[in-house]
């Protein structure tokens, strides 16, 4: 085990962005101290280490903060070189980063739209989300993981879809994860959730459903600008 007291992670139990950092740490066997943040009452430490957006996750290594989950994962991969997360070849690294960017730029906003939309807007939003699933399904053809035989950077970044998308479906009453429409993607979800570092590091499902129910209720009740 490496790391120990020199590695700290500020997180929030329900956050997929935090979990992906934890998955990276677990895959490399890095020991770390986890600090749970109350998002409605952020600690002075969190604000000190991330004054710009005051968000989790924040990784602290030898007292130096690193912010933004994708940036943190790349940092972890560069500092602890065993069990690499990104491939060696520059072109393959570019492909891994491309799909990671796709997750953050397209998939998350599409899922968010569906989660909060109602009526006609919901129908349209679902179509957009399905487009992204189609693209991911196509990319996975012939592969067990986005990273190939083993999980890699894009799997970790897209990993929120293996758990939190299912939670969203339940909370907001919609269905997109259809194995007939997206056989490769749904198969990837199964394989991904079986990886020990992932399986042993997911939030409890009912507690997460409950959390996102409240989150959705709050958002829909808030006065619109």
């Amino acid at each position: 085990m490496v790391g120990g007291r020199e590695v700290k992670l500020f997180g929030m139990w329900a956050s997929p962005a935090v979990r992906r950092v934890e998955w990276a740490l677990k895959l490399k066997g890095i020991e770390y101290e986890y600090i749970e943040e109350d998002i409605s009452n952020k600690s002075t430490d969190l604000v000190k280490y991330n004054p710009i957006n005051k968000q989790v996750p924040v990784l602290l290594h030898h007292g130096k903060p690193i912010i933004e989950s994708l940036v943190i994962i790349e940092y972890i991969d560069e500092v602890w070189k065993h069990n690499p997360i990104l491939p060696k070849d520059p072109y393959e690294r570019a492909m891994a980063r491309f799909w990671a960017t796709y997750s953050e730029d397209k998939c998350r906003s599409a899922a968010r739209e569906v989660f909060f939309a109602e009526g006609e807007k919901r129908v349209k939003a679902i179509k957009c989300l399905e487009e992204t699933l189609r693209a991911l399904d196509e990319e996975l053809q012939g592969k067990k993981f986005f990273g190939g035989e083993n999980i890699g950077f894009s799997d970790l970044v897209l990993g929120w879809m293996a758990f939190w998308l299912g939670v969203s479906e339940e909370v907001a009453s919609f269905e997109v994860l259809d194995p007939n429409k997206f056989p490769w993607f749904t198969s990837w979800i199964d394989s991904f959730l079986k990886v020990p570092a992932i399986k042993e590091n997911l939030p409890p499902r009912d507690k997460t459903v409950e959390f996102f129910h409240s989150y959705r209720r709050l958002h829909l009740a808030a006065p619109k600008c």
Partner: protein
């Protein structure tokens, strides 16, 4: 023999400019192909089927899309004149600032230029605050990368001629010597450096282009009312 490099781009796009600046900084010869976005070439659609957008870098026949992904690829493939530092923590900081520019600064500034009334005032305030944050990061350095241009400087290239032109078209003031003197000085330093100045579009042509875009948008709005 070196494999050939092609860049599919659009002269008005700051994202495409980023790619060209990086290639020039590293002395990498490339062929530039101008795309008409209203009539995309079959090659572009083949090279970027997911987004169908520019920029796309093609190296030895292999395409890479998404400007920041392309920049990291360029950095890893052509090692001279590095645009990222060696130290992992400093690299993480550079990546963080690049994301800040891409996900906060640019989209909010862009929206503020094209919106109206209360919304515009709100976005303008946010833009000015983001620029102040960037200024504090720049501090007394010549470039975000230190003594030489780095990834963050390249990501911030929209703060050169684009911001100047767009403010003029929108008739608002967001960024100037009085409000952000350090950043303004940076912009001038950046624009006059050899690798950058050859990549920037001519200001008067850019002005005509965005003026026409604004007129087109106003005409559409008038037609809708």
């Amino acid at each position: 023999m070196a494999e050939e490099v092609k860049v599919f781009g659009r002269w008005t796009s700051p994202f495409c400019c980023r790619v060209e600046i990086a290639l020039r900084l590293k002395g990498v010869p490339y062929e530039y192909i101008e795309e008409d976005l209203s009539n995309k070439s079959p090659l572009l659609l083949e090279y970027n089927p997911v987004h169908k957008k520019v920029p796309v870098l093609v190296h030895g026949g292999k395409p890479i899309a998404e400007s920041l992904v392309v920049l990291e690829y360029i950095e890893e493939t052509w090692r001279r004149n590095p645009i990222l530092p060696e130290d992992p923590h400093r690299r993480a900081m550079a990546r963080f600032w690049t994301k800040f520019i891409d996900e906060k600064c640019m989209p909010i500034m862009w929206k503020s230029l094209w919106s109206e009334g209360e919304m515009q005032l709100k976005l303008m305030e946010e833009t000015k605050e983001n620029l102040s944050i960037l200024e504090r990061e720049l501090n007394s350095k010549k470039f975000f990368g230190g003594n030489s241009i780095g990834l963050v400087d390249i990501a911030a290239s929209f703060l050169s001629c684009w911001t100047e032109v767009l403010q003029e078209v929108a008739g608002i003031s967001l960024f100037g010597e009085a409000k952000h003197p350090i950043l303004f000085k940076w912009a001038n330093e950046f624009m006059s450096s050899d690798a950058v100045k050859v990549c920037l579009p001519p200001k008067d042509e850019l002005l005509s282009h965005f003026r026409a875009m604004k007129e087109g948008m106003s005409a559409t709005k008038a037609g809708q009312n």
